[in-house]
Amino acid sequence: MRHIREGFKNIGRNGWMTIASVGAVTTTLILVGAFLALMLNLNEMADNIEDDVQIDAMIEQTADEEQIQNLGNEIEKINGVQSAVFSSKDDQLNSLIDSMGENGQAWQMFEQDNPLNHVFVVKTADPQDTAPVAKQINELQGIQSVNYGQGVVEKLFEFNSYARTIGLVLILGLVFTAIFLISNTIKITIMARSKEIGIMKLVGATNGFIRWPFFIEGLLLGVLGSIIPVAIILTGYYYLVNNISQHINYSFIEILPFNPFAFQLALIIVAIGALIGVWGSVMSVRKFLKV
C-alpha cells in the first residue's frame, strides 16, 4: 500500500519527465497497436486464402461427355487430390454473375451463348500441393488450361513477411526509446530522493522495500501510456469493422470481428505498456539505486 502511494507521489513530482515518458509510451503503443491489427488481419487473410485455394481445370470445348467422365477419373487418381467436382459452363456463368454483384448484370447477355468452359473444381488435401497438382492436370489430354490463382498466395505471404520485418524493426526501436525515457524518469526520481534513500538504508530498510515504489512508478507510467492507444484501438477498429469492410467486396478480405479481437488487442497493448514501464524502472534501479 505504501509502495503504491509512493509510486503515485513520484509521478506527481516529476511533471515534465512524466509527460514525456508517458507520451513516448503512448506513441509507441499506438504504432504497435496499428501494426498488430494489420499483421494479425493479414495473417488471417492468408490463412483464409490458403484454405480456399482450388484449381479450376478448364475442359476443352470439344470434349464430349465420355471424355469428361474419363478426365474426372484421371484427375482423382493424381496424388494429393482430395476432390474433383464437375461444374458446367452454366454453373460457372451463374456463379460469376453472383460474385460480380451489380456489375454482374452485364454478363447476363452471355446466357444464350456462353463463352465459358466446363470446369473441374479440384481441391488438394494440402494447399502446398496446389501448384504441382495443377501442373499435372494441365498436362492431361482434354484440359485447356488450369487456373489456381498462380502466385497470389505466395505474394501475400511474401508481403506479410516484409511487413513483419519492417514493422518489428520500427517497433523495437520505439519500444527501446520508450524504455530509455522511462528509465531516465525513474533515474530523476532516484536522484531527487537520494537523501531519503540514504536514510532508509541507514535505518535498515530492506532493498526490496526501497525498490518497490520505483517499480510501481514505472508500471504506472507504462499503463498510463496505454490509455490513449487502447481508446484509439477500440474506437478505430470499431469504425473500421462497421464502415470500411462494407465497401470491400473481395471475398477473401474478411477482417477479424471487433469482439473479441479488439479487446484482445487492447489487453496486449496494456501488457506491453506495463512491460515497458517495469523494464525501464528495473534498468534504472539496477544502475542508480545501488542497493
Binding site: R2, K195, E196, G198, I199, M200, K201, L202, V203, G204, A205, T206, N207, F209, I210
Partner: protein, 228 residues
C-alpha cells in the same frame, strides 16, 4: 559485543584508512574515538554497520560476523545499530514526528507500535511539544535531538555517532551529551567520534585514539590528549 581483529581498510583509490585495528568493546560501554582529521575515525565507525567493508581482518557485532554477512542481511544488522551524524540527515519536508516515525515505517513496524515508540523517544529527547514542527523551524541542537530520537526509536543495542556535536555550540553540545549519557544509562553501547576536547575532558569515558589508521591509545576514563 563489538570485536575487531587486525582490521585493515584500503579504499578503492589506494588510500589506506585503517591498518590493523584491534578493539573489544563490551555491552553498555561509552567510547570516544579521537584523533586528528583524516586519521580514520569515520572509516572505523562506518565499518560497524557495513557502510564500508574491511579489506582484511574480522569484525564481530553481537556475535554476528559482519565481514561475510550476506547483502540481504545487512538491513537487519542496521536495525540493531542507531546512527547519528554531524549534519543530522533529517528530511526537510517531514515534521519532527514524521522524521522519527520514518525509521520505523520503512522497516514495516505496525502503526500502533510506531505511535507509541515515537512519542516515547520524543519525550526522552525533550521534543514532545515540537512534534509537528519542520526541521527548518528548529535550532541546530533540536535538530540533532530529532536525529538522536530517530537513531534510538527502534531500541538498538548500539548507537554510533560521528561528530554529533561538530555543528553545535558548547552549551548545546553539553545538552546533547546528557542525552547520550541517558541513553547509555539504559544499557545502550555508545561509540562516538569527536573532535571536542571539552566534551571528552568533561564527560569522562573510555577514549580510543586513532592516528594514521592505528590505535595509539586506549584508556578508560581517558582525556582528549590533543591540543584542540
Amino acid at each position: 559485543m563489538i570485536l575487531m581483529k587486525d582490521v585493515h581498510k584500503t579504499y578503492a583509490n589506494g588510500v589506506v584508512a585503517l591498518s590493523g585495528i584491534n578493539v573489544d568493546i563490551k555491552q553498555g560501554e561509552f567510547v570516544y574515538i579521537v584523533g586528528p582529521s583524516g586519521a580514520g575515525k569515520s572509516t572505523f565507525i562506518r565499518l560497524m554497520f557495513r557502510e564500508v567493508k574491511p579489506s582484511n581482518g574480522t569484525i564481530r557485532i553481537n556475535d554476528i560476523n559482519v565481514n561475510d554477512l550476506k547483502e540481504r542481511k545487512v538491513p537487519y544488522l542496521r536495525r540493531n545499530i542507531g546512527v547519528v551524524y554531524q549534519d543530522f540527515k533529517l528530511l526537510p519536508k517531514l515534521s519532527v514526528y514524521e522524521n522519527v516515525a520514518f525509521a520505523l515505517e520503512v522497516i514495516e513496524e505496525s502503526p500502533a507500535v510506531i505511535r507509541k515508540r515515537v512519542m516515547e523517544v520524543l519525550d526522552l529527547v525533550g521534543l514532545k511539544n515540537k512534534a509537528r514542527f519542520l526541521p527548518d523551524e528548529l535550532s541546530g541542537g533540536e535538530q540533532q535531538r530529532v536525529s538522536i530520537a530517530r537513531a534510538i526509536v527502534n531500541h538498538p543495542k548500539i548507537v554510533i555517532a560521528d561528530e554529533p556535536t561538530g555543528n553545535l555550540d558548547p552549551e548545546t553540545s553539553r545538552e546533547i551529551m546528557k542525552i547520550f549519557e541517558e541513553i547509555n544509562d539504559r544499557g545502550t553501547t555508545i561509540l562516538m567520534a569527536t573532535h571536542s576536547k571539552e566534551i571528552v575532558n568533561t564527560f569522562r569515558k573510555r577514549v580510543i585514539a586513532i592516528e594514521d589508521g592505528l590505535i595509539v591509545r586506549d584508556e578508560h576514563r581517558g582525556d582528549y590528549g590533543y591540543e584542540s
